[in-house]
């Protein structure tokens, strides 16, 4: 069974490629991501168009790498904000226990079994922050699972002897929680964040599939897939490219997550 290091390396390579492409798209994309060229409709992948063109003659490769920036940005900001909120909730409900723990957990249960499409719709209509409304929506759907993980980690450390020791030192609960217990959850948090990133990308793709994700004209992988489904019979490559980009990114992230988990836990 490959040990953590090898997996970590594979993961870094794959994610590196995607990040490289995303950074490349900042300066140069073979074609403008939204330039429609009537004459070049649904061309097969060729040297001119690495991944071919869609039904409106737009270069799929340029759109994929241009879109990757936003998809990754959405994923990062979702997981970032979600980690902050979930850590606070998880630490409090894990450490304090009793009534606040019960309340937080009941709310968490409620949100987690709430269909995410309804949450997304609610958020998208209430606040229109442009590209980032979807971040808020995804964040709400992700907080439950993150909180549960942080809570279990906190519970595990809450009864550790060094916490008892610190309490005997007279160290305040808050300081024990933030300075001592929280850093110990980092390895677990790290691999959860990486797995969370891949789930965020999947969720953003699903949301934009329903028209709620990143808004046009900025291409997002999910919407490219949806549009590609219409022309899958004559131009199947239109679906393949964004699909591969998603799969490669998520395989990369999962490998990093697995690798980290093996090396640190």
């Amino acid at each position: 069974m490959r040990d953590g290091k090898k997996e970590l390396r594979i993961g870094l390579v794959l994610t590196g490629i995607i990040l490289g492409l995303a950074l490349l798209s900042l300066f140069y994309t073979p074609y403008n991501y939204n330039a429609m060229d009537k004459t070049a409709r649904s061309l097969a992948p060729s040297l001119k168009h690495l991944f071919g063109t869609d039904s409106y003659g737009r270069d799929i490769f340029s759109r994929a790498i241009f879109g990757s920036r936003y998809t990754l940005l959405v994923a990062l900001s979702t997981v970032g904000s979600c980690t902050v909120i979930a850590s606070v909730l998880g630490l409090v409900s894990g450490y304090v226990g009793g009534l606040p723990d019960e309340i937080i957990m009941r709310i968490i249960d409620a949100i987690s079994s709430f269909p995410d499409i309804l949450i997304a719709l609610m958020v998208v209509t209430v606040l229109n922050l442009g590209q980032f409304t979807i971040v808020v929506a995804l964040c709400i759907t992700f907080v439950p699972s993150f909180t549960r993980i942080v809570r279990t980690a906190t519970l595990q450390y809450k009864n550790a002897e060094f916490v008892k020791n610190l309490r005997v030192f007279g160290v305040s609960d808050l300081r024990i929680l933030l300075v001592h217990i929280f850093p110990n959850t980092f390895p677990l948090l790290l691999s959860t964040i990486v797995i969370g990133l891949s789930n965020a990308i999947l969720a953003e793709a699903a949301m934009s599939y329903l028209g709620l994700g990143i808004q046009p004209p900025i291409p997002s992988w999910g919407r490219m897939l949806q549009e590609a489904q219409t022309i899958v019979y004559t131009a199947p490559w239109a679906a393949v490219c964004p699909g591969i980009m998603i799969v490669v990114t998520i395989v990369g992230l999962n490998c990093i997550g697995e690798g980290l988990r093996k090396l640190y836990l």
Binding site: M1, R2, D109, S113, P115, L118, L225, A228, V232, V251
Partner: protein, 316 residues
């Protein structure tokens, strides 16, 4: 017995919390059901008449209280969009989603568990690396991309099935299951990968436990240990995750039903939400949540049955 009492109390509490959340959601999302039915050309009088008829001109809180009182008595109200009792609508839909869920669950368990065991048994060999790679791949593929692939390859090219064709169970049962098989597969593949991964990790962790060392000391072979000792402990470790897998199967079915055009509760939910059909959405959300919470309930009971430490409590 006290344990179940507490669990049912939590069930009711969670479901109530969900219905309040749905109420708030509908409070916030704009949209007038009557307008959506009559379209842009309707005159004001027509809209007023329809709102009166549907009862959507009453304040939302009143609609909610009337719906709740009805719900408690078992009457789920009439759907605004389809103008027929919600319970009748669900009668046709629940079996479809349940069947879809069941088939995908069967696939998940039928493939997930043996693959997980095989990966654990053949740890260190190429078999485990292949399975490991497949699981990572399985987890990474978005399920609607999977749908497109399945529909294109197996539907169009190989003609294994006719995408978009749904045979109702009232007409012919085998046809019904056949038309549900492929959507179930697209839900099942990512979840199977997850289950395989969890079972493999659980079994590897159990293999490091002391009781395995004791068993080896007795002269038990690897396979004997794997099936008689480790498997049972791994199952106990994995059972709680089954609850999570069922939850994602249910939420996954919402999009899959939309893509394959399967008339299940998921497709109905999307329709209900976009057409602001408050009673129908409320009931559907409750149904789906109750399904999820009941699964967790069953999972808890399953754990009780398998794990004597919980069933029999502390030292005698």
């Amino acid at each position: 017995m006290k344990y179940f009492l507490r669990k049912t109390l939590i069930l009711v509490l969670t479901v109530f919390l969900i219905s309040v959340l749905t109420f708030i959601a509908f409070h916030i999302i704009p949209g007038d059901p009557a307008g959506l039915i009559l379209g842009t050309n309707a005159t004001e009088e027509q809209l007023e008449a329809l709102r009166e008829q549907l009862g959507t001109n009453r304040p939302l809180s009143e609609q909610y209280t009337s719906w709740i009182s009805g719900f408690v008595k078992g009457d789920f109200g009439t759907s605004i969009r389809y103008r027929m009792p919600v319970s009748e609508l669900l009668k046709g839909r629940l079996p479809v989603t349940l069947a879809l869920g069941l088939i995908s669950l069967v696939i998940i368990l039928l493939f997930g568990i043996p693959l997980g065991i095989l990966a654990a048994r053949k740890r260190g060999t190429w078999v485990e690396s292949v399975i490991h790679f497949l699981t990572i791949l399985g987890i990474s593929v978005p399920n609607f991309f999977l749908c497109i692939l399945l529909m294109w390859i197996f539907g169009m090219v190989l003609h294994f099935f006719t995408p978009g064709e749904y045979i109702s169970y009232t007409k012919n049962l085998p046809g019904f299951f056949r038309s549900l098989f492929w959507p179930a597969l697209s839900i099942a593949i990512p979840q199977t990968a997850i289950l395989t991964k969890y079972i493999r990790t659980a079994m590897l962790e159990e293999l490091d436990e002391d009781y395995v060392r004791t068993a080896r000391g007795k002269g038990a072979g690897e396979t004997w240990i794997l099936y008689l000792h480790v498997l049972k402990n791994a199952i106990v470790a994995v059972v709680p995750l089954i609850g999570m897998i069922v939850a994602s199967v249910l939420s996954g079915s919402i999009i899959i039903e939309q893509v394959y055009g399967i008339p299940g509760m998921g497709k109905l939910l999307i329709g209900a939400v976009t057409s602001r059909d408050f009673p129908l959405t409320q009931t559907l959300v409750i149904y789906i949540t109750v399904l999820i919470v009941i699964t967790n309930f069953l999972v808890d009971i399953a754990i009780q049955l398998i794990d004597p430490r919980i069933r029999l409590g502390g030292k005698s």
